[in-house]
Symmetry: C2
Subunit: 192 residues, 2 copies
């Protein structure tokens, strides 16, 4: 599984064999069965997690007990809680495997150090962060601008690879609409 991660890195930016070795030495692999948790609310998140296989969801539970999905993560994506990572405070999130998954983990201390020791790696993670931010800005735009139907259309267009791997009611949760409403929207679309 670590090889998948190393291939990913090689594909993303120029990196020497020696640097790959430095990175692989700090990696560990965590296997998750469906419905197992990578992070649970209240725990502090102090690592970086690369999804080599499987699907994860990151969600919060509100006072009424309703779950709200903040993010899905599939192969070649990252997962985690940046807020807890940087603040050292307990996380408000849960990260759960929706399929059996294999995750490459790098402890915070090693990750932060290697970003300096391997400048290209530091640049890469920064570019990743830039893109994550842009994606979240786009999601905000969709969220304040679109109707429920438009939000769903935008989702399946933006994340076609995720759409078919997760239950429909979780897409509804991600979009902030009720599962019944999403079901009816799909019904309407099908009729056209």
């Amino acid at each position: 599984m670590i090889n998948i991660f190393l291939e990913y890195l090689k594909d993303k930016f120029p990196i020497t064999e020696e640097e790959l070795e430095m990175l692989s030495q700090v990696c560990t692999v965590k296997k998750l069965r469906r419905r197992q948790y990578l992070l649970q609310e209240g725990d502090v998140w102090q690592k970086n997690a690369f999804v080599a296989k499987g699907v994860l969801r990151t969600y919060r539970v509100d006072e009424k007990g309703t779950e709200h999905i903040i993010q899905f993560s599939i192969e070649n994506w990252w997962a985690g809680d940046r807020q807890s990572y940087h603040s050292g405070l307990p996380s408000a999130f849960n990260i759960e495997a929706l399929e059996d998954a294999e995750i490459v983990l790098i402890p915070k201390a090693d990750f932060d150090r290697l970003q300096i020791e391997i400048p290209k790696f530091g640049e890469f993670t920064r570019a990743l962060l830039e893109r994550s931010f842009i994606a979240s800005q786009n999601r905000i735009h969709a969220s304040i601008s679109y109707s429920a139907e438009e939000k769903y259309a935008d989702f399946i267009k933006t994340y076609p690879d995720i759409t078919n791997r997760i239950p429909q009611h979780m897409i509804a949760s991600y979009l902030g609409i009720s599962p019944e409403t999403l079901s009816r929207i799909r019904n309407q679309i099908a009729k056209k």
Copy 2:
């Protein structure tokens, strides 16, 4: 105005006089009258903008002509369009002054170079990006989880300094609710 920016930097991370000089040499100041634009849809954004004075709003216009406010920026905040900045493509955003404003501008080429030449500056802008991302995650959470009333309560709690400086209907636009609904929400809150 450049001094305000330099004071801001000194306050945020350790920086030498020489480094401050390097930065100040690439800064220019742009004065904006109320309702003037810093960026207009279709233009390419290739700079960094620090708000020394005033309030800006960043918004998009949808097909129906409705404006949706993506962000407000007040003193000591940054404004811009990261998507256009990194892609070199025309921006979909407009950035407009809501009060007379003074903006410190740094061209992309200089900014990117100085991040490397002044490592602490690079670290600082990265931390800034991390915090922006976390803030946008929180906004997404509010957007998919809260009722209109809760969104408004969250906004005035999170951004008390902005609340009183901008028209109410623009807060509604930022939250993705209609101005009439916000007016009624405030009316209800006042009755309690």
